[in-house]
Subunit: 248 residues, 2 copies
DNA sequence: CTATATTTTGCAATATTTTGCAAAATATTG
DNA sequence: CAATATTTTGCAAAATATTGCAAAATATAG
């Protein structure tokens, strides 16, 4: 096997998984740990990954405070993302907002899926960077350094230029009456995305269900589909079914 | 078997598989390893594949990845960035393009500098994420997965909404007559930024001076200031001084 | 067609690079 | 601080490259 092939596999492993270990890689590639160590050192010096004790981590442009939020309830978010994936068909145009569940969805998008994704979220764009087919359209605007997404009038105007098939909505707070969030700008943005999509799919870990936040976005009944990590037959979802929302 | 046929088979093997090894090819083609080696060297010199130890890899597979470019000539770029910094004053509005020297400038921006930076580059936005004062406006558009920057009509329209104080221009190629680069979209973008700024400052490692690329951007004399890592009294900068360009 | 030049090919001797191992150095954990 | 795990370093063996050269193949000229 060529060194280049090995390097590609190491990079692939590291970027898809977020990290890679010497142990696993040297088994997978049937070479000694020393070789992997040297490979990783080389790739590090080229800036393609970061060598750390025990292996390597992928170089990410995404800042730490966001990263931390990314990792909470990660398992539930993955379950949600998998369910959401079943809704996506080839050739569709989609809004992805800055929610962390939405980000998980971006991460697991199959390589053979040919879709256009419109987003204001850097982490989402970052996750799709390596996707071979997905066309990414980034919404310009002022940069919110907290959420690492764009916002403001420019972004809203950008959204209004489209009418997309599905909006994947990262839910902050949902009650039977309202969808709400903690940031005014974010609320405006999410409303605009809802208004400019045929279907809105809410992604929401269960702990956020039946809560309300300061800024009202829209009435909950405008939601088309709600995805949580719970089974759809779980009794607590009934109030939402009653509103005509499909539970997944 | 004709050499041409062999070459075609080698190219085929390399591109479908991503890579090819001497061992396999010399068995498959029933010639000595030396012959394959020579073939691959020839194909490499024609730019049809890349010769590596043990075989060859397809060229399309080795995109000129931004993360790699970020790390080349890093010391020179830091010198350039420091010089560029002296030009920036409080309250100014600046264009930063996707050049790697420009990125270095973004990285060393002092925390007490209060400026607005308009950019289409993810790495630049990322570098400014921790800056306490800098206001970042991101230009929306299609995402170029190679350069981690937006491009296209949307981005151009975004640029045209401003008239900024200084454009920090990451130079690909510069001769006494023309500024040029390797990508058409990038050329359009850089021209637009020039046209919508009062002053254009070119950032350029010396190895790019006196070179030309495929896509013309604008006449070199439209540049206001040129910064390289060399001292301004260095003799080779004279032809640019003659054009009325200030050397820093 | 023959003789001669040119290119291509394979081989062997000689560099160079890569690889895995083991000992020494260093970092991490309790 | 000791015990353990990980990394670095030097080294020798293996793999791969380079070079020069001669034989074979191909082209060119008369």
């Amino acid at each position: 096997m060529l060194k280049e092939d090995r390097h590609n596999i190491i990079l692939e492993e590291t970027s898809t998984n977020g990290s890679s270990s010497f142990q696993l890689l040297c088994k997978k590639l049937a070479v000694s740990e020393d070789t992997i160590r040297r490979d990783i050192r080389e790739l590090d010096s080229r800036g393609l990954l970061k060598a750390v004790r025990g292996g390597a981590v992928s170089v990410s442009r995404i800042p730490h405070h966001y990263r931390e939020r990314e990792h909470t309830d990660i398992e539930q978010k993955k379950v949600i993302a998998k369910k959401a994936l079943t809704l996506i068909k080839n050739k569709q145009v989609l809004f992805f907002d800055g929610g962390t569940s939405v980000l998980e969805l971006a991460k697991i998008l199959p390589a053979d899926l040919n879709v256009t994704i419109i987003t204001n979220s850097f982490p989402v764009a970052n996750a799709l960077e390596d996707h071979p087919l997905a066309e990414v359209i980034f919404l310009g605007g002022r940069l919110n350094k907290m959420s690492f997404a764009t916002f403001g009038n420019e972004t809203l105007k950008g959204i209004s230029k489209f009418k997309v098939d599905i909006y994947f909505f990262g839910i902050c707070s949902i009650s039977t009456s309202s969808l709400s969030c903690k940031d005014l700008e974010d609320a405006e943005l999410k409303l605009a995305m809802m208004q400019h999509s045929v279907k809105t799919v809410g992604l929401c870990t269960w702990d956020k269900v039946n809560s309300e936040s300061t800024y009202f976005i829209r009435e909950t009944k405008e939601l088309d589909i709600l995805i949580t990590e719970k089974d759809k037959s779980a009794p607590p979802t009934k109030p939402f079914t009653k509103l005509g929302i499909e539970i997944l």
